[in-house]
């Protein structure tokens, strides 16, 4: 939340009608985007997150509500005003959408040509951008000769060519392998930090959110069910959708173990402490770990651990007393159906 508001959704709804009937893609969305931040929208497929993103450059129109860009209502722009506004927003896609018949340089130059720059000037600018994304050696290659990660780098350079203030990333790493995803995310982070470009990221991959985002909106079935800082979300996901995304296995275990469970939360400070040993040695209670997971966010460890809480009440109390002493965040999930 570094800066002022750059865009805003106000009570936005959208319904698609198909032969099978009407699908409510978005209902009553309120969301602010601040200059300089990286905001992620995450959710299962069909949650409406791509539709939301595409409303920011009016590839989709809102049925109800308004989308504001820098104080202007997007829905009221004339076609030529809209095209001028779109110039201030770059967009990258899951499947890159590069022109197969243009080489890398001319792909990056395309938005500038569209906005009336001469071909030479457009190419000069494109060449600079290819250096920025580390593809200076691929200038005259064609997209078919590139790997997925290289194609996405070209697409990023292309999206940056018109000096946008906002970069829309629609599942930009979903077609890439983990290592390539990592390098693309690093590049996006660099673009945000060094060029000050605001990023609106739509993804279904939690590690994308962990890796680069400041704030995250969790979407489920057309609604935003949770909107918080990434840190807070990982510490304590409130919505069912968020828990499912963060701890998919944890949710499975919840069903398979019927007793009371102790949920420990590591908030970035104490994950290094040998906590389990302490419980065993000091509280003298055997520990049954049901689930454990940790994530690294900004070089701090965040995680959760699910322990089976002993039926023996004094043993349980000894554990809780120890946790109090250690200052750990925890909660007790009661047995299902109790």
């Amino acid at each position: 939340m570094q800066g002022k508001e750059i865009a805003e959704f106000k009570n936005v709804s959208k319904t698609f009608s198909s032969k099978e009937g009407e699908v409510r893609a978005l209902s009553g969305i309120d969301l602010q985007l601040y200059r300089g931040e990286i905001l992620a929208v995450i959710g299962p497929s069909g949650a409406g997150k791509s539709t939301l993103l595409r409303m920011l450059n009016r590839l989709e129109e809102a049925d109800e509500g308004t989308v504001i860009w820098q104080g202007q209502e997007l829905g009221k722009l004339s076609p030529s005003q809209l095209n001028a506004t779109r110039r201030k927003m770059g967009m990258i896609f899951q499947h890159f959408n590069l022109l197969a018949q243009r080489n890398v340089l001319d792909n990056v130059a395309l938005p500038l040509e569209i906005h009336g720059l001469s071909r030479d000037k457009a190419r000069a600018k494109a060449a600079e951008l290819l250096e920025l994304v580390d593809l200076g050696d691929k200038t005259y290659a064609y997209p078919a000769q590139l790997s997925g990660g290289q194609k996405q780098r070209v697409a990023i350079a292309r999206a940056l060519s018109t000096d946008p203030e906002l970069l829309l990333c629609d599942e930009a790493t979903s077609a890439l392998d983990p290592a390539t995803t990592h390098s693309i995310l690093e590049l996006l982070k660099k673009i945000n930090r060094e060029l000050g470009i605001t990023l609106f990221v739509v993804t279904h991959e939690m590690h994308v959110v962990e890796h680069i985002c400041d704030r995250v909106a969790v979407m489920d079935d057309g609604h935003i069910v949770e909107l918080r800082s990434v840190k807070d979300l990982f510490k304590n996901p409130r919505s069912a959708a968020a828990r499912k995304l963060i701890y998919p296995q944890g949710e499975l275990l919840k069903r398979s173990y019927s007793g009371a469970r102790l949920r420990l939360v590591f908030d970035g400070l104490s994950a290094e402490e040998p906590l389990i040993s302490k419980i065993v040695l000091e509280a003298k209670v055997p520990v049954n770990i049901l689930y454990a997971d940790s994530k690294n966010i900004e070089d701090k460890t965040y995680g959760q651990m699910l322990l089976a809480l002993p039926d023996n009440e004094t043993a349980a109390e000894r554990i809780l007393a120890l946790l109090e002493r250690e200052g750990l965040t925890y909660s007790i999930d009661e047995e299902e159906g109790k």
Binding site: G90, Y142, P143
Partner: protein, 218 residues
């Protein structure tokens, strides 16, 4: 007919056929490309949907496409006379050839344009491209290999039609096959003519495919 007299006749016929084919193709594309661009962009879900206009253009295109060439050739003779002043000879054959081929070319071009990935059009929209830029900077260049393949099919089809024009006073190889083969039972001359046409079609088709393959960067 002896070989010595046959060769100059065939040469003359070949040149007429090529002239008719090339001229008709050029005019057919001059009319067909704009028609294809209109069909493509006014279609429902297209760049600038105009359902009424699109329906009218589709009906006209289909009507012209469904009239058999030989019938169209005779049907539009008054129009042909109006344009070139006569209904006989090579220039007169070009008029019905263009009228027949233009809607055919439009359909071929339209189908090439439709092959262009919707994601590219969306990307162009996101860059702030207007319809003109999308058509001329994205859709047409991306469709080029397919347009060239379509072009060689169009040329060979027009060449085939042009030989039919020979039966009603148009010149070219068709006229030779008709005059010598049909009217004088000179099967040898007719056979040679047919072989020439087959070779021409093969050359054009092969050249088109090769060129398309060469420029396609996919």
């Amino acid at each position: 007919m002896s070989i010595n007299t046959l060769i100059p006749v065939l040469w003359q016929g070949l040149l007429e056929t090529l002239a008719m084919t090339v001229a008709s193709t050029v005019f057919a594309y001059i009319l067909g490309i704009p028609l294809a661009l209109l069909l493509y962009s006014t279609a429902p879900g297209g760049l600038t949907p105009k359902p009424a206009l699109n329906r009218i253009l589709n009906i006209i295109t289909n009507i012209l496409r469904s009239v058999p060439f030989l019938i169209l050739l005779i049907w539009i003779m008054p129009f042909t006379r109006f344009i070139v002043g006569t209904t006989i000879g090579t220039p007169a054959a070009i008029v019905p050839l263009v009228v027949s081929a233009a809607p055919y070319v439009a359909r071929m071009v339209e189908s090439s344009l439709l092959e262009v990935d919707g994601g590219l059009i969306e990307a162009a929209c996101s860059m702030g491209a207007d319809t003109k830029s999308i058509l001329f900077k994205v859709v047409l260049p991306e469709a080029l290999p397919s347009l060239i393949v379509g072009g060689s099919i169009a040329v060979t089809t027009i060449l085939g039609y042009s030989t039919m024009a020979g039966f009603v006073g148009g010149g070219g190889l068709g006229a030779i096959a008709n005059n010598y083969g049909l009217f004088r039972y000179d099967y040898f001359t007719m056979f040679v003519t047919v072989v020439l046409i087959v070779i021409l079609v093969q050359i054009i088709q092969a050249a088109g495919s090769k060129l398309a393959l060469k420029i396609d960067k996919r």
